[in-house]
């Protein structure tokens, strides 16, 4: 079955079983690497993407529910050449060990920063609570989100 998904601002035609979880379509049909398979159960957050401004686990979300929704993956924020403030912040803080959970963490943070420009540590922790990291990079992840908020603020100021 053919279906149109809006991913990172572009309409993409995909041909897949409507029950297919979004994660498989992102990774296999659209060849996007960032969202990761972690549990398939919505328990770990490594597949997190942002849909219409909200962070969701793409591993449990069938594509048939996504017509007309705006899906953002980590690829939609920036590139190695032109990293978004959030990506730059994670590089600056060296906020990864194995990095497998990081894309999901960043999308969770992205959703937070869209609704709260300058979150407190408590707000960052609460927002990231659904996501698991096994390497113990938590301190750096929190610091990177804090830094991203500052970098985004600065780039908004610079744009004025």
């Amino acid at each position: 079955m053919s279906l149109t998904l809006n991913v990172n601002g572009t309409d993409r035609e995909v041909s897949a079983d409507p029950q297919t979880p979004l994660l498989y379509v992102l990774r296999n049909d659209l060849r996007l690497n960032a969202a990761k398979f972690g549990c398939g159960l919505g328990q770990c957050g490594s597949c997190t993407v942002v849909i219409d401004g909200k962070a969701v686990t793409s591993c449990t979300l069938p594509i048939m529910l996504l017509k007309g929704r705006r899906i953002t993956t980590l690829e939609g924020l920036g590139s190695p050449q032109r990293p978004a403030p959030l990506q730059q912040a994670f590089i600056d803080m060296q906020a990864a060990q194995c990095g497998y959970c990081i894309a999901g963490m960043m999308m969770r943070a992205h959703a937070l920063l869209m609704s709260v420009a300058d979150p407190s540590d408590a707000e960052i922790r609460a927002a990231l609570e659904p996501n698991l990291c096994r390497c113990g990079t938590h301190m750096r992840i929190i610091a990177a989100v804090r830094r991203a908020s500052r970098l985004a603020h600065k780039s908004r100021e610079d744009a004025r």
């Binding site: 060990q97 113990g136 929190i142």
Partner: protein, 738 residues
């Protein structure tokens, strides 16, 4: 990411599988010594071009047999090579563990990578530089002291210059290394000792292809396995026909107790796997011990006793006070966030496996044996996966991919385990029981220390037949060899079982358990985590009886200066003895030198305990670490922070649950780990520089001390000792009401 295994040069191919020595004329330098005397892994692969190659156009390739596991080894190896070659890190292409391209450095484990591979690369690079400078001196007819090297260009004081590419001819780097190298002195480092940003992070934060999970080979198909619901279950039957007609299904594999499906699309494979699992009928056995009596069960198992140390001092006066305690640790998961994954392709009789194994060479041997193929026909290439923290499902998934690709020649097969498959089938960190007994005098001086541990081996990694899970399920099954106890300097279950304190008498016994109720293997730091937890908890118990401050108590019995340095520094930076402790808060301290021969680490921490719930939160930790010569300070801090938090998660939350038939910890709901609510407010890592000293490795130094400090802080907070890991809320509440 694409496969490039057919684009190898003949030369690279000849380097594979030990063929090197016969493929080229032996170009031994006069005085080249016996390989065993060479530094690091040069002793295993003595030729310089096994580590460093330079093309005529100046391109530099560095080869390591170690694998990136998220510990940052790629970056550190590049720094070491860049330092000694006098080039910029960006000029280096790094090739990691690959049975066809790199030296056989066995496993990437035991915090050995810098010690083994970093040392080899550093020495090889320095010798390569020296050879090239010598060549340049000849060409330019100048003495070497009139030449300078930077960015791979050798410049003379008269303005002439040659680059490395112009100086490399034929096989000039195909010579055996010398035992000593013109190493750059630490005060002239420009690359080492600096926090070079990790080279792998930009791709990981922008959606680049970074993991084996991200590989997409042309024509690739997707496989899923169906595992027995419990260890020892036998397959009575499965209606594979019903599954083979499902959409996209290419093949259903049924061999003995081994079941798998292969489909064109990934979600089709997932659906077929679910159907096959429903249709499979298994005969299970109830043969696991009751979980609540695990410690007694382990102690009751037949054991082979091995003496780890028996040190008796004739002059010792043991003292008049005695204390005894028993500690336990549950089975624990590696719990990789990404379940294991591998790809394989059988083409023209040659099998290539892309895997996140920690040991491409041992894995290759095991896979070749499983498939009755010659080793030379199997190539294992390491591609990063989710962090593994030891021997997880990686090797078994590689074996799955190999088996399935073998059944489908010419087609690349990708196998992805599901979450519950990783949780239920990974080899766990072994459950352990330890018992400590000390006799000490009124000043707390310990004259006699007796320590016993009950544990399986902590190493069942691939290599020998029967170590790969799929091998055990096939109709022509391989049976694992019985485990043997082996006492070594680095230790296994007995790692760090000998305290590094200066007690007059020390006797340590490993009651080595051969029967393995649950399959176990290496989990980061092996026995060190539990042994250091036990020893450091017990040290605090003795200090409390002797009424001596825990830090002072340790220092009194610690002779080694570098050990004393980390203890002193951690205590000082934490403000030990100067902090005001709020009600229901507690502070704790612990120390260990990893394996008693690697990095030194001391941790001081503060916890808060919620009396109503028994919930423990680590608020702050200060850690001092000495891991020898520093290559990348931020890398050491990152690993140490991570080790600390992971150990905190193990200690507070983690136990594999099982009934008498099955493991029931199948996901993150049934095996909870650390989440953000329990992340500390702050962690400080202080790295002690030791210029000119050997690399000691930093990946596993913190786990034991972190657990010890946490246990001591909880005891300090609640006034009662918890000796069983994990510190569940129920256990904390029970201890509080004692």
């Amino acid at each position: 990411m694409t496969a490039n295994h057919r684009s190898l040069s003949r030369r690279a191919f000849c380097l594979a599988g030990g063929a090197l020595v016969v493929s080229f004329p032996m170009l031994l330098r006069p005085g080249a010594s016996h390989a065993a005397a060479l530094p690091g892994s040069l002793s295993k692969a003595p030729y310089l071009d096994a580590w460093i190659r330079i093309d005529a156009d100046g391109r530099i390739s560095v080869f390591t047999g170690k694998a990136e596991l998220g510990q940052g080894i790629k970056t550190a190896i590049v720094q070491v090579a860049a330092e000694e070659l006098k080039v910029e890190p960006v000029q280096i292409k790094l090739v990691t563990a690959d049975t066809q391209l790199t030296a056989n450095e066995q496993y990437t484990a035991g915090s050995h990578s810098l010690q083994d591979s970093g040392t080899a690369v550093r020495n090889a690079a320095a010798q390569v530089r020296e050879i090239l400078v010598g060549r340049a001196a000849e060409r330019l007819a100048l003495s070497k002291d009139r030449l300078r090297v930077a960015r791979g260009i050798i410049s003379a004081d008269d303005g002439r210059a040659l680059n490395y590419g112009q100086l490399v001819e034929g096989d000039i780097l195909h010579i055996e290394a010398l035992p000593t190298s013109p190493l750059t002195p630490p005060d002239r480092f420009t690359q080492m000792g600096k926090s070079l940003p990790r080279i792998d992070i930009p791709a990981k934060v922008t959606g680049g292809a970074a993991y084996v999970q991200d590989m997409r080979l042309p024509g690739m198909v997707h496989a899923r396995v169906v595992r027995p619901p419990s260890s020892g279950a036998t397959l009575l039957g499965a209606d594979t026909g019903a599954v083979s007609h499902m959409p996209g299904v290419l093949s259903v594999i049924h061999d003995g107790d081994y079941l798998a499906v292969i489909a064109s699309e990934e979600f089709q494979a997932v659906q077929a796997m679910h159907r096959l699992a429903q249709l499979a009928r298994w005969q299970e056995q109830s043969r696991l011990p009751p979980q609540s009596q695990l410690a007694a069960y382990l102690k009751g198992l037949e054991a082979e006793d091995a003496v780890v140390i028996d040190q008796r001092s004739p002059v010792a006066s043991a003292g008049s006070r005695m204390l005894e305690a028993q500690f336990t640790r549950a089975y624990q998961c590696h719990g990789s966030i990404g379940p294991s994954c591998a790809l394989a392709l059988l083409k023209y009789g040659a099998l290539t496996v892309w895997t996140h194994t920690q040991g491409v060479f041992p894995d290759r041997s095991a896979i070749a044996e499983m498939l009755h193929m010659p080793k030379e026909a199997v190539r294992c290439i390491h591609v990063e996966g989710s962090g593994c923290y030891g021997h997880n499902g990686a090797d078994d998934a590689a074996a799955d991919a190999a088996l399935l690709a073998h059944a489908l020649p010419g087609t690349p097969v990708r196998v992805q385990w599901m979450r519950e498959q990783e949780h239920l089938n990974e080899p766990y960190g072994p459950a352990m029981v330890t018992r400590a007994r000390a006799v000490f005098d009124a000043d707390g001086v310990i004259g006699d220390w007796q320590y016993e541990l009950w544990s399986n081996t902590h190493g069942t990694r691939p290599g020998p037949a029967g170590t790969l899970l799929p091998e055990r399920l096939l109709s022509a099954a391989f049976t694992p060899r019985p485990q043997q106890v082996h006492i070594s300097p680095e230790g296994s279950g007995d790692r760090n079982a000998v305290p590094s304190y200066s007690f007059a008498n020390k006797r340590v016994i490993w009651h080595f358990l051969k029967h393995m109720p649950l399959r176990v293997s290496s989990l980061r730091s092996l026995g060190a985590y539990m042994n250091v937890f036990s020893i450091e908890s017990f040290m605090d118990e003795i200090a409390a009886v002797a009424q001596i401050d825990p830090v002072e108590f340790r220092l009194r019995q610690l002779d080694d200066p570098r050990s004393r340095d980390v203890v002193t520094l951690a205590a000082q930076r934490f403000g030990w003895g100067k902090r005001t402790i709020a009600p229901n808060h507690g502070i704790g301290f612990a120390f260990a030198r990893y394996k008693n021969l690697a990095s030194y680490c001391a941790v001081a921490c503060e916890v808060a305990v919620e009396p109503d719930t028994g919930d423990v939160r680590l608020l702050h930790a200060t850690c001092a670490i000495d891991s020898g010569e520093i290559v990348n300070p931020d890398g050491i801090r990152n690993q140490t922070e991570g080790g600390l938090l992971q150990s905190m998660s193990w200690t507070l939350f983690e136990a594999v649950q099982f009934d008498q038939t099955r493991v029931t910890s199948a996901d993150w709901a049934t095996y909870p780990i650390l989440r953000f609510a329990h992340v500390p407010d702050s962690i400080e890592i202080h790295v002690i520089p030791r210029p000119g000293q050997p690399f000691l490795g930093a990946g596993e130094a913190a786990q034991g001390p972190a657990a010890g400090a946490l246990g001591n802080a909880v005891a300090n907070a609640i006034g009662a000792r918890i000796r069983d890991i994990p510190f569940t809320r129920a256990r904390v509440k029970a201890a509080m009401s004692r």
